[in-house]
């Protein structure tokens, strides 16, 4: 039992640092959580939140810093170490076995034994108790795979409680839930809090932090910014802490004189997510597409690039009908895509820089069926220089490069082909701030050279800072088209979610 009147820290992380090849993901980060406290962790994409909780849960090991748990110095080297301390993490992707029952999942890997056999009676009683304590009306015999996302989340929480969790880390738990389920989740979190469990709560939604958290720690670009008591801060304070810089400095100034219409999209539909999308795109223009996940942005992009086929609608490219049957068709017509998921859909990670740059243009580098290696080397060297790609050589494996440099390799691939229409889906996701502004500069230069750019982004400041026009999508349709001058964060959000008071 603690003797002090103020409860001592349950967890204290001091000066945590972590590097990956080519990028410093975390540096000098502090975090202090007390028992029975909800501590929010806040920061933009790429601020280092995930890296920090992965260190805490044993998925990564830290390079620098100290971790204290219950006042004792600890070394978390594996998920098992974290579990033994009583630290549980609920990721956005749940970790349930879909073909096992709720009770079996709750006891997964920890089945109690009696006389060498599994003590199913205990499994069942205890599971029921846990679910009851969470006030979740779930059958313990239901298969996990048949449950709704919200129910699965509750099973994850029950699983954590069953392991005598003292610190629960929740990575954007509300991101996958609907309005009503979020209220439920909040009730559960408050009950856990009342029972003395410390909670680290990660969310992008500022409103939730004010509803739920006692303290908030803000990270930016892998560094510690500040820790505040929630009662003492305003939403504006938090935004300033998160962004922490003047937007004017980050986004390049452009002449911005859009030319001819290059692409016209009319009533496009694809499967269930894109329902009726129409817009035009001009040469030399950056058209921002905002909207929440699932609004049909990425699906639209995939149709434009020929990765999926449209189920309805028509497209016109440079005045001619455009109906790409494959990415190759799109590339040959001058359209390229920078995919949302760089590692899975963009790069050949275990191959070299030169390979990744020229893979889309091999036929141009061939003469009589034979690759002109010298010509290839020269081309790659040129683009490494033009885009200032930091790499020891063109033979370097891209998996070992930083996010920003990987993204530049993708850009080099398309720029070397003389692409005229660029679709960039989350072009700066997972990229450090220095490389971000370089990517912005490249985009601005391209637009000034007459390249038309569609930028899909979930980061509103980026959409507002870069776009000539902003298209807001909601439920598979274009909800609004806003000029640069009339686009504000509030207006875009208003159209994106279809209601006025979500942000505030």
């Amino acid at each position: 039992m603690s003797t002090a009147t103020a409860p001592t820290a349950l967890l204290e992380m001091q000066g945590i640092g972590k590097s990956f090849p080519g990028v410093k993901a975390l540096e000098g980060v502090h975090l202090k959580v007390r028992p029975g406290q909800v501590h929010a962790l806040l920061g933009e994409n790429g601020a280092g939140k995930s890296t920090l909780i992965k260190i805490l849960s044993g998925a990564y090991t830290r390079d620098e810093g100290e971790i204290y748990f219950d006042g004792a110095r600890v070394d978390i080297k594996s998920p098992a170490d974290a579990e033994n301390l009583g630290i549980s993490t609920i990721y956005q992707e749940f970790n349930l076995a879909p073909h096992l029952t709720v009770a079996e999942n709750i006891f997964l890997g920890h089945l109690p034994k009696k006389a060498g056999r599994v003590d199913w009676a205990t499994v069942r009683t205890r599971s029921r108790e846990l679910l009851d304590s969470l006030e979740v009306g779930l059958s313990i015999d239901a298969l996990a795979g048949t449950l709704s996302v919200a129910q699965q989340q509750m099973v994850e929480i029950a699983k954590a409680l069953n392991r005598n969790t003292r610190l629960l880390v929740m990575d954007e738990p509300s991101a996958v839930l609907g309005e009503r389920d979020i209220d439920n989740l909040f009730d559960v979190v408050r009950r856990l809090q009342a029972s003395g469990i410390g909670i680290i709560y990660i969310s992008h939604r500022l409103k939730e932090i004010f509803d739920l958290a006692d303290e908030v720690t803000v990270l930016k670009d892998g560094r510690y910014v500040d820790t505040r008591t929630v009662a003492d801060v305003t939403m504006d304070d938090l935004v300033t802490l998160m962004i922490g810089r003047d937007l004017e400095d980050v986004y390049p100034q452009r002449a911005g004189k859009p030319g001819e219409v290059v692409l016209e999209v009319a009533h496009l539909a694809q499967a269930h997510l894109a329902k009726d999308v129409s817009f035009t795109l001009r040469a030399g223009e950056i058209l921002g597409i905002a909207g929440i996940t699932g609004s049909g942005r990425t699906e639209t992009a995939r149709v434009l690039f020929g990765a999926d086929k449209a189920t309805m609608g028509s497209m016109t490219l440079f005045g001619k009908p455009y109906r790409p049957r494959s990415p190759r068709d799109a590339i040959d017509r001058g359209i390229a895509v920078v995919t949302e998921d760089r590692k899975r859909q963009g790069l050949l990670l275990k191959l070299q820089v030169y390979f990744n740059v020229t893979v889309a243009g091999l036929s141009r580098l061939s003469r009589g069926g034979v690759l002109q290696l010298r010509q290839e080397r020269a081309l790659v060297a040129k683009w490494i220089q033009n885009l200032r790609i930091k790499t020891p050589s063109s033979d370097f494996m891209v998996v070992n490069m930083s996010g920003g440099n990987q993204q530049k390799v993708v850009l080099a691939r398309w720029l070397s082909l003389g692409i005229k229409v660029f679709i960039m889906d989350e072009p700066t996701r997972g990229i450090d701030v220095g490389s971000k502004s370089e990517i912005y500069q490249i985009m601005a230069d391209l637009a000034d050279q007459g390249v038309a750019i569609i930028m899909i982004s979930s980061e509103l400041p980026e959409v507002l800072g870069m776009s000539d026009r902003v298209l807001v999508m909601r439920d598979g349709r274009v909800a609004a088209e806003l000029d640069r001058a009339e686009a504000t964060e509030e207006r875009v959000m208003h159209f994106a979610v279809g209601q006025v008071d979500l942000v505030g």
Binding site: K77, A307, R328, I331, V337, T339, R344, L348, K350, V359
Partner: protein, 338 residues
């Protein structure tokens, strides 16, 4: 408890992955297999006085001739993260038909060879079509065609078809060339080396070869980079079928018979996969080379021949190859772990 063990294992793996040895292997993957080839050769040179005689090298090449050509096809398939279990059986079927068409049906021997190769190619196309069209795993598809080819062999003939001396077209590739008193290795070895040179050139200097690596590294990224991934995979399995047909031609030339049991021993199917893996081609795709496979083939050949010269029973030769495969894949896995 596993909790006590896993950190230790991970640490060991990480330190191996970070060692200079691993770095050299990652940057120049051919170094490992080459070192292994030198090592086994050295061991046998010391252990067996007969090993360094002039005939041994020719003997090794003759022994690996068939597996060597099979392994070219297998290399391509494995680079695309596939596996071709049907390779030995397709070779057996193809060779049996070559002999049968010529000897039993009385076809022109050249035509018989072409038709035999055609059957192997057709099976390769079938493998590729099932993998790309229906999206079945290569393991299952080729397990199926392996059994089909096995059965077709038995249905066609249960007895060995002996090729008469008059049909030299079917056997000349396997017969030593006699120039005066000198005996030169059979022309099949020249064919083996030419095929390796062609495959090496294709993989390194053509868009098609690059595409095979791209598909193996990440098929979705390759498709989004504009590659026709289905056509590439279909091509790989078809070319693999061609390699098995050519291997069949060498196989009947070497043995002088069309044998319904051909391609079934470990000396057929599995040795090809073994050679590819020992040669540094990764089962996880995207990495590897036919030059590595040639070295792998030679390692298997040197081992077999060396053990034979030392009077070790064939059973133990198989045992050693089994150990070798696991060792090779372990080294690959540990040096590439992050």
């Amino acid at each position: 408890m596993s909790s006590a063990q896993s950190p230790v294992n991970l640490t060991a793996a990480r330190s191996l992955a970070a060692s200079p040895f691993a770095k050299a292997l990652r940057s120049s993957p051919i170094l490992g297999p080459l070192a292994a080839l030198l090592l086994v050769s050295l061991v046998f040179a010391i252990a067996s006085p007969n090993f360094l005689s002039t005939g041994t090298f020719s003997l090794i090449l003759q022994q690996v001739m068939v597996v060597g050509v099979l392994a070219i096809g297998q290399t391509l398939v494995i680079i695309t993260t596939g596996i071709d279990l049907s390779c030995g059986m397709l070779m057996g079927l193809s060779g049996l038909l070559m002999a049968g068409f010529a000897v039993r049906s009385g076809l022109n021997p050249w035509l018989a060879i072409l038709m035999g190769i055609g059957v192997a190619v057709a099976f390769g196309v079938l493998n590729g079509a099932l993998v790309t069209g229906i999206g079945l795993p290569a393991f299952i598809v080729t397990l199926g065609t392996m059994n089909i080819a096995w059965a077709l062999k038995r249905i066609y003939s249960t007895s060995t078809i002996t090729i008469p001396e008059s049909m030299g077209q079917l056997t000349f590739l396997g017969a030593p060339i006699k120039v005066g008193g000198l005996e030169l290795p059979p022309p099949g070895i020249a064919l083996l080396l030419v095929l390796y040179a062609v495959a090496w050139f294709m993989m390194k200097y053509t868009a098609a070869g690059r595409s095979v690596y791209a598909v193996g590294d990440n098929i979705e990224a390759a498709r989004l980079a504009g590659l026709n991934t289905k056509r590439i995979l279909l091509g790989v399995y078809s070319v693999a079928g061609l390699a098995y047909g050519l291997a069949a031609m060498l196989q009947i030339a070497r043995t002088g018979v069309g044998d319904p049991n051909a391609g079934e021993s470990t000396n057929g199917n599995m040795d090809a996969i073994t050679a590819v893996v020992i040669g540094g081609t990764s089962l996880f795709g995207g990495r590897g080379s036919v030059v590595g496979t040639l070295v792998g083939v030679l390692i298997v050949g040197v081992l077999r021949t060396g053990l034979q010269l030392m009077g070790v029973q064939p059973t133990y030769q198989v045992l050693v190859t089994g150990v070798l495969v696991i060792a090779a894949v372990s080294v690959d896995q540990l040096t590439h772990r992050k």
